[in-house]
């Protein structure tokens, strides 16, 4: 196990180095001159020189790369260009509102999708299966923006069931989060049901299910104990890989509902050309993605005894 982990991590290191390099290239080279982005079109040359040295732009690319790697390791990404707050503070501020939306939505969505797809797999080939599958295809064909706009307009503006906009820290956040969570679940269920249904149907076609049936076991028992156990490997893998996206949050939901999380922070940073924040975001997103992929592999190996970690 340990040697497997070490090998997996060793493989991730060059990938992360590559991501860091791409990020650096994207933001410091391809974007033109960061100094002119910060200081505007016709800046004072003395100021420009000072800023170049402050940002380390006078160094060669390799030097800047090493600086950036140091930033990543120490998690110190400097300060925002917009208001000089340390980037770390910005993250600390945004992470709680983001998680308060994404975590419940993710768990609820997972629960709904798995149960619906098991139900659909149980009634496979019937009208129920066909109509739910058709609904799932139709559901994923609607733009996520439409769900948000119509949900906000209809449920919050017209029927006044939920507040339209805003956020409060503490337990009263539930009041503001209910509608965005509902929309998130709606958005994720279509894709997930389609995926989990395929997974479940694949399992149902396997030999052990036929054996269980010929032993005279009840179909329901087969589905919920035998099939579900075998399906749990792809389900958990898929859910683990999705975790980093909970932290980057939902840009759209956060913007629309005024939740001061990381997603809306990033968007503000992009519109303000706030390079340090966008850069930190990109690289942290990638690091989390790589880490959780390793974790998914570990779960996969732990759950499925057929997989050897040789």
């Amino acid at each position: 196990m340990i040697s497997f982990l070490l090998r997996r991590i060793a493989y991730a290191v060059p990938v992360l180095l590559g991501v860091a390099f791409i990020t650096l290239l994207l933001f410091d080279v391809a974007s033109g001159d960061p100094v002119s982005i910060k200081l505007g079109k016709s800046p004072d040359p003395v100021e420009v020189e000072a800023l170049r040295i402050e940002l380390g732009l006078d160094k060669p690319l390799l030097g800047r790369y090493i600086d950036f790697l140091r930033q990543i390791v120490t998690l110190d990404f400097g300060t925002s260009w917009a208001d000089d707050t340390p980037v770390r503070e910005i993250f600390k501020r945004g992470v709680l509102p983001t998680l308060s939306l994404s975590l419940p939505a993710f768990l609820l969505g997972g629960l709904v999708s798995v149960s619906v797809s098991l139900l659909v797999a149980f009634y496979r080939g019937t009208a129920l299966d066909k109509s739910i599958t058709a609904m799932a295809i139709a559901g994923i064909s609607v733009s996520s923006l439409i769900y948000i706009l119509v949900g906000q307009w209809l449920l919050a503006d017209q029927w006044k069931l939920f507040p339209i906009w805003g956020y409060e820290y503490g337990p009263s956040a539930v009041y503001f989060l209910a509608l965005p969570i509902f929309i998130w679940v709606l958005l994720s269920v279509g894709t997930d049901v389609r995926y989990y249904r395929t997974v479940a149907l694949e399992e149902i076609g396997k030999d052990y299910v036929r054996t269980a049936r010929s032993k005279g076991l009840e179909e329901r028992h087969i589905l919920f104990t035998h099939v579900l156990k075998n399906c749990s490997v792809p389900i958990i893998t898929r859910m683990t890989i999705a975790v980093p996206f909970l932290i980057t949050g939902s840009f759209l939901l956060e913007i629309f509902f005024g939740i001061p999380g990381l997603g809306s922070t990033l968007l503000t940073a992009i519109t303000n050309s706030d390079l340090p924040v966008v850069k930190a975001f990109t690289i942290l997103g990638a690091v989390l993605y790589v880490l959780f992929n390793i974790l998914a592999d570990v779960f996969y190996a732990l759950l499925d005894p057929r997989i050897r970690l040789g």
Binding site: P14, G32, I137, I146, P244, I270, V278, T282
Partner: protein, 322 residues
């Protein structure tokens, strides 16, 4: 063998076989027809526009076009075809904007997905066929790209292309007059970010095909790598390319909507994303028809292409031949 009997019929080429299987799926054929209809709208939209009042008719209000309508928003009406979907809060024809948006969607879908497919296919072929260090490099490249969260990568890239020297370069090219900078940005962003899935699939499939006897035969005949790759291996993995193109086409159009909505996409011309972005404030004033029009246009096209994509998978997969 009874196979030889119908000699008068056209020979059974793989493409014809696939089409025969595809045709059996009624709803997929209907969806294909819908797709073609959209394509025609995308082609003729601009012609209609120019015939009405010259270029950029979508930017004029119905009054400016010489029609008798109230200033500002008009609900959908059957008085004139241009008012079929009503007018926006600025008094412009929603239908014309949907038409123009269709053109934008097709440019984004075709060129964005096209670029992604070409990159993914070529890299996948090279990695799978040439193996060794090429394979290592390509694998490294796609694991790195895949590690950056998709929306983040798209946003970052869109942001950079806008800031940087690429847009300055683009503006001096002759095609800048036909495809606006915002549109070009989107195409580039989608092309450069969406090739990973296809590359993985092609690489894995080519690795299997490479070991088959006919490839060894081609090698024995002394054919070069490039010739074997593109003439002998590629046709055997091309179904992956076609299926993936249809999927990426949809993703591209949906990405345009989101990027434009977030302010880093198409600007200075109407697109579905632009219409949905405008609808945000209009909706609160009870003006629901621009959103409905753009939303339905997007929905029907997405649904049709999703369906065609599923049917293509069934029709093209060589393992499913009966």
């Amino acid at each position: 063998m009874t196979e030889d009997a119908p000699t008068t019929q056209a020979p059974r080429t793989p493409a014809r076989e696939a089409w025969r299987r595809f045709k059996r799926n009624r709803s997929a054929v209907i969806c294909l027809a819908i797709f073609v209809a959209y394509f025609l709208v995308a082609l003729t939209g601009q012609i209609i526009e120019i015939a009405q009042a010259g270029d950029n008719t979508y930017a004029m209000t119905l009054n400016e076009l010489g029609l008798d309508f109230e200033e500002g928003a008009n609900p959908p009406s059957s008085d004139h075809w241009m008012a079929f979907f009503g007018t926006t809060s600025a008094g412009k024809s929603v239908l014309l904007r949907v038409f123009h948006g269709t053109k934008v969607a097709f440019v984004v879908g075709t060129f964005g997905a096209g670029l992604a497919v070409v990159i993914g296919m070529t890299l996948g072929l090279m990695a799978g066929f040439l193996g060794r260090w090429v394979d290592e490099v390509v694998q490294y490249l796609y694991s790195t790209i895949a590690s950056i969260p998709y929306l983040l990568l798209m946003l970052a890239l869109a942001f950079i292309i806008r800031q940087g020297p690429i847009s300055a370069w683009y503006q001096e090219r002759f095609f800048a007059d036909y495809i606006s900078l915002g549109l070009f940005n989107i195409v580039l962003v989608i092309g450069l970010t969406s090739w990973v899935t296809l590359c993985r699939l092609v690489r894995a499939e080519v690795k299997k095909v490479r070991e088959l006897e006919y490839i060894q035969a081609a090698r024995a005949l002394g054919f070069g790598d490039a010739r074997i790759m593109f003439k002998h291996v590629l046709p055997n993995v091309f179904h992956l390319v076609i299926i993936n193109f249809s999927l990426t086409f949809v993703t591209a159009i949906k990405s345009e909507v989101i990027l434009t909505f977030l302010g880093v996409g198409v600007d200075r011309e109407p697109s579905w994303g632009q219409m949905i972005a405008d609808a945000k404030s209009e909706l609160m004033q009870g003006i629901w028809w621009p959103l409905a029009a753009a939303g339905i246009a997007l929905f029907v096209l997405t649904l049709a292409v999703n369906y065609v994509g599923d049917a293509l998978r069934d029709a093209l997969d060589p393992r499913l031949t009966e």
